[in-house]
Subunit: 408 residues, 2 copies
């Protein structure tokens, strides 16, 4: 088709830049929440779907499958049971809203609560997708320092007091308490209590993003913050993207009806994918726990390979704590390494990394850090990719000086 | 959980009213694009998914399944082939964007093109979901009269000239040319040419919503407007919701890259449901045509039952043209019947209808009209529901005077 019509005068003035054409994943892909390909329970999901379709397939003929806009009833029942068993959180299935990944949950919560000029509290290092969403909504965010026990509640107390002094009441405190993204830390139970207590004192909702909690392999999974809350002050979201498969696009929001009833009118998508909901509802009750145990072993092993490759290739130049679960590691390089520049140089050579600036509330403070995802690449790809990254980093910044015991 | 936290000060001031709790479908449900339950190819979809999962299931481990954000490659190939064979529209699969139902397609196109205060052209009676979206975006719309040949291009010419006089350039002309919603009419080829020519003359994009075209059972399916366009001036959307099942949530936008590349950055959902995309890609090439032939017969028969019930129960009080396809019929009652009031009274007695005001660009002009969907209810439910509706209408407005040959 010959193109001549000019759409330029028709597009909104504030659109993001045009997308580039898709050219496939790069050779060494250390970004994105992709998961281990062999870990996807492909046959079991197909079998589950075949079963549930025999029983319930005619429901596909109606929007919402006869369950209304909260989502497929058996899946909400299943999630409620899983949250109780795995996260110590008793939940009424009618307080669960199925969403198109946790991303839609974040969008719905943001859409109901946030207006331009609002302020939100986040962890000082946090999920890049949340930070970019907040920026595009015109919302300010303040980062709270994170240590090995998660968000530092002493720092939170300071920031809340200072904001109050300035007459600013944040709209919510966004936290990823368990396998924090990107730091991989787990908020201690004590800190959870303190956080809840501060939120109550200042009268501020908490938005608990628990997307990685099923992948915690070290230590016991702490009770969710929402489960400790008696006042309905915590909005919670989770997902099957990390535990089963990201392409399924099924997440969930847990909140009380006064909140859900305001989110629902913003969910104008006609429902989430029916086959995903049905397959998960059938698969999870009998197989989720065992599957996730296996997946954790696989990821833990990949994490070990990633840690080994970083130590071998970067030596003392790379500082990190091995995460307690999940699919990513957060690495600090020497202060003079600019990971925005490193990411660009690496991308040109087939290595994708997340520069720390995009994962930091204060972009500058993250500029010598990077996030590396290890869920999808094979052991060999991890080793070769980290070696290539070290070479590129050396070429750009002169560090690491030595790697794999060879002077560069 | 005891609720005490008050979210009221936190919600945006401009939120829609809170949702009501789901209480199930009513006894007589004549609203919503639900489809015939026995017509859903349940077993064949499950089999298709089992097949494709064996081959391609590991792709679930990555966002986009390795195909980028346009959607699953084999499904785009399949849609391209179907559009060429069924709609006379040769299409590059890279000009197809898979969406979460056509609703997401509409949202993306609106999001890229519309700002508050903009003007859009629609058919005088049109899809309520589009009209409500335009209203909530703060966009004005002007309705063009529809007759048996679809949008009246003589009226369109008048309106475009008048708008130009006023210095208003509409952002696009939204049309449902084939099995128009709600009128059920089909735009003639001659009118399509005239529409395209007017759009070219005034330099205005066309947004062609072809969601019902696969359900056309009377006459030949006309070529799409987009297929007649040499300039890339037409953005097209379609769906599997009406032809396969609404709960699948798979639709598509067809447009040239200069348009798609601006829609993609607005699609921040992490992709559409993978199982749906895979199942459809596997099922459709060999089975779609035959399935839709069968579905058309079922729907045509239900339409016949609906027409019979309306004639029997409403007699001369109901005016309508039997639709040429689809799942709904558009009915005019005497001018003094207010269908907003009728819809309310009927809902209280278990009969849901779409009042004409919600399906009309000029709400007032539609106030004595209504839309009745017949895709989902059984023959018996259609007959009993229309009888109940006639009784309610008689009780409220004194019409119909007679029904089923019995004086009321």
């Amino acid at each position: 088709m010959q193109m001549s019509f000019d759409y330029a005068p028709f597009f909104r003035a504030d659109l993001p830049p045009a997308a580039a054409r898709w050219t496939g994943f790069p050779e060494y892909n250390f970004v994105g929440g992709h998961n281990d390909a062999d870990g996807v329970p492909v046959a079991a999901l197909a079998d589950a779907l075949t079963n549930v379709m025999q029983r319930d397939g005619k429901r596909l003929a109606t929007y919402g499958m006869g369950y209304g806009s909260l989502g497929y009833g058996p899946l909400r029942d299943c999630i409620a049971a899983m949250l109780e068993a795995r996260a110590g959180m008793a939940t009424d299935p009618d307080n669960i809203l199925i969403t198109t990944g946790s991303l839609q949950g974040i969008d719905l919560v943001n859409g109901a609560l946030l207006a331009p000029g609002d302020t939100v509290i986040v962890e000082a290092v946090s999920y890049g997708g949340t930070l970019s969403r907040l920026r595009s909504l015109g919302v300010d965010y303040r980062g709270i320092e994170v240590d090995g026990d998660g968000m530092r509640t002493d720092h939170l107390a300071e920031v809340l007091a200072a904001l109050k002094q300035d007459g600013v009441r944040p709209k919510f405190i966004y936290t990823i308490p368990t396998v924090q993204n990107p730091s991989g830390t787990v908020m201690s139970v004590q800190r959870r209590r303190e956080l809840l207590s501060l939120a109550a004192e200042y009268g501020i909702p908490i938005f608990e993003d628990d997307c990685y909690a099923d992948l915690l392999w070290e230590g016991e999974r702490p009770a969710t913050i929402r489960s400790m809350d008696q006042a309905g002050q915590v909005i919670y979201c989770g997902t099957f993207s990390k535990s089963i498969a990201p392409a399924l696009r099924i997440g969930y929001v847990v909140a009380d009806w006064p909140v859900l009833s305001r989110l629902l009118p913003l969910k104008t998508d006609g429902g989430c994918g029916a086959l995903e909901q049905m397959a998960l509802a059938e698969y999870c009750p009998s197989q989720f726990d065992r599957h996730v145990d296996e997946l954790q072993k696989t990821l833990r092993e990949k994490c070990r390979v990633m840690v080994g490759a970083l130590e071998e290739q970067f030596g003392a130049a790379a500082e990190f704590s091995a995460p307690k679960g999940g699919i990513f590691i957060w690495v600090s390089l020497p202060e003079d390494v600019d990971t925005d520049q490193l990411a660009k140089a690496a991308a040109a050579q087939g290595v994708l990394i997340n520069p720390g600036s995009e994962w930091s509330a204060d972009a500058n403070s993250g500029r010598h850090r990077l996030r590396l995802c290890f869920g999808h690449p094979s052991h060999e790809t991890i080793r070769a990719g980290v070696a290539r990254l070290a070479e590129i980093c050396h070429d750009e910044f002169g560090v690491p000086m030595r790697s794999a015991n060879v002077e560069r």
